[in-house]
Amino acid sequence: MTRQMTGARMVVQALKDQGVEVVFGYPGGAVLPIYDEIFQQNDIRHILVRHEQGAIHMAEGYARSTGKVGVALVTSGPGATNAVTGLTDALLDSIPLVVLTGQVPTFMIGTDAFQEADTIGITRPCTKHNWLVKDTEKLSETIHQAFHVASHGRPGPVLIDIPKDVQFATGTYTPMEKTRVSHYQPRVKGDPEAIAAMVEMMETAERPVFYTGGGVINSGVKASALLREFVAATGFPITSTLMGLGAYPASGTAWLGMLGMHGLYEANLAMHGCDLMINIGARFDDRITGRIPDFSPHSKKVHVDIDPSSINKVIRVDVGIVGDIAHVLEEALALWKSRGSRVNKVGLAKWWAQIATWRAVKCLGYKGSTKVIKPQYALERLEALTKGMDRYITTEVGQHQMWAAQYLGFEAPNRWMTSGGLGTMGYGLPASIGVQIAHPDSLVINVAGEASWLMNMQEMGTAMQFRAPVKQFILNNERLGMVRQWQELLHGERYSQSWSESLPDFVKLAEAFGCKGVQVTDPKDLDDAIMEMIRYDGPFIFDCRVEKHENCFPMIPSGKPHNEMLLGDADTQGVIGAKGAVLV
């Protein structure tokens, strides 16, 4: 059955066929025909954002909390350029998105027409792939292929640029089943020989550690289930990157906590001292490795990743396995069991005894206070009062983000959304709305810094309009806290431009948006206020006034190896040498 329809209708039809329920977007001249089609149907819900960057982060929050592809629709020119930060964010965190942009009509491309931008050129380096569709006949097929590319292999954002005349013209709709199979078919099954090599190493290792990342979450819930089974069966300790939190439960006995620059002492020292490192879906990011020549110097390293270019990119490994995490874990687990489920029991017992001494350091300890709210305390209370609830957490970027990763526990995958790779301030508020749209009855909290939060605060309007009862938990230190911390450590305490001046009254701001806000300054009032926030039926802005000069520890200073971390009370002066200072 072939069907004739306009390009604009094709867009909506193709999205429906792909099972899309929600589109985050903002209209404009170059996408009016598509908006006209959206108006005339009820299957796809359109969430009107307040800024296109918000649309992309919402689509990211939606995608990360559901495992589905997130979809956004924006106009040409400024609509497309406003989407660039979000696209780059999604590319670095491997989040599957399909972003549709309007373009000036084909016969005006290249004339500097009103609201013309070279969207394909601008977004080429910040998408996994992009397409300019110049012929309505090719539009539906391109959209179906876009979903395939976004969600297969290493996921990522893709963009389709659709000139306005292509939206108006009539063409043949190609259904999903009839779409040419894309040659883009990344390998999902790991090489059996490499898997066998890994299993053999696991049988004899004395000091093994699992180092897992966002790839486990991206692979799907099955990957997390297999990982848990593998960890339980082997008794190996496990740590994770910021991106991978929740794949293994924080309450699990083998859990060492997050690793990396602000990771836990036991996690980083286990990485440094292990004799077998099993990297599953992580990418040896510089936040993780610290100084490369000193990174885990005595270990054999295995790396499982769906992206062949990730293997040996930063750290040379002994065994590289290209494949989907769930596939590889399933085969490795089966093989390991069939060979007798062997581990080096004596070695492991000693290893755990060693880890126990590192855990005893209690690196997350901090000086409490009865007068001011310590940010760590605020998060401990938030954790205690929301634990066990059907809860999703997003964050902004800064100290609060690292404290959230340290003090909140994640029991399941897809419950933690944070901008890891790009470190985008302004991510958390829109992302929380995207999560809430996908999970209307769940508790969705954005742990924010006041400075980051202001970057996309206009999206409170979106939250109000679409009744997304997102909770904005702002750890307000009146500082660009993370910048201030680096200035203290690296720039002789010269706090250049790291004050948050002229902050709005967040309670009045909440009222202005039509929702509720509180300000809390006394630790005694914290619990009641958190409960009020949880119970409030609607968006909520929590202005949590915290200690202004708290530093985030533990910390591996730039250019230092894992075994030279700073714990809370360390003298912080002159710890980063000239070589480290050039690093970010």
Binding site: R124, R154, P308, N312
Partner: protein, 186 residues
């Protein structure tokens, strides 16, 4: 127009070239990348090289299969062995890329480049230019009383040495196609 300053080819092995024995080994590789001939595909490949700081010594591209719209991009690049491996992996994961072949490691390959050289001169220099052109099997494709345009095909090194010889004899302009390469045998 002044005589051209021609850079010595990266693969020249002069006895006077003093290398730091501890410097990382820099290798030159010729890659054949088979891609879908879609708009922007060349920009995408070049963008990868610039964004990640890889070198392009030479690059040619043309559609080689008009029915299936496949283009062949031949890239000559230099880097440490680790970087070369990364370049291949980064190319291979691009959506419009079908195949990546490293002709330098996949066995013997033939490499050819075509060059046009304009040499102006009179008298003895002019005769000398013609004599050398014959030795190098370059053809005269245009001539006036004061100039020749030579066409020659060969390895980039051969073209380099011919150009080097033509420089004192009045080399004015040169156009090169970049390298095309195929593996030997089947």
């Amino acid at each position: 127009m002044s005589p051209l300053n021609i850079k010595k080819s990266a693969s020249s092995h002069s006895a006077y070239e003093l290398r730091d024995p501890n410097a990382p080994v820099i290798e030159t590789h010729t890659l054949a990348v088979i891609v879908e001939n879609e708009p922007g595909v060349l920009a995408r490949v070049i963008g990868l090289f610039t964004a990640r700081g890889y070198n392009i010594d030479s690059l040619t591209v043309a559609e080689v299969d008009h029915t299936s719209h496949r283009s062949r991009i031949t890239v000559v690049t230099t880097g440490t062995p680790e970087v070369i491996v990364q370049i291949k992996a980064q190319l291979a994961r691009m959506v419009p890329v079908y195949e990546v072949h490293d002709l330098t490691v996949e066995g013997p390959a033939v490499q050819r480049e075509l060059a046009l050289l304009k040499v102006a001169g009179k008298g003895e220099a002019r005769i000398e230019a013609l004599r050398l052109a014959e030795i190098f099997r370059a053809h005269v494709v245009d001539s006036t009383l004061e100039s020749f345009v030579f066409e020659m095909t060969g390895t980039p090194e051969k073209i380099d040495s011919f150009a080097e010889l033509m420089r004192p004899l009045g080399l004015r302009e040169m156009a090169r196609t970049g390298v095309a390469a195929l593996s030997r045998g089947v």
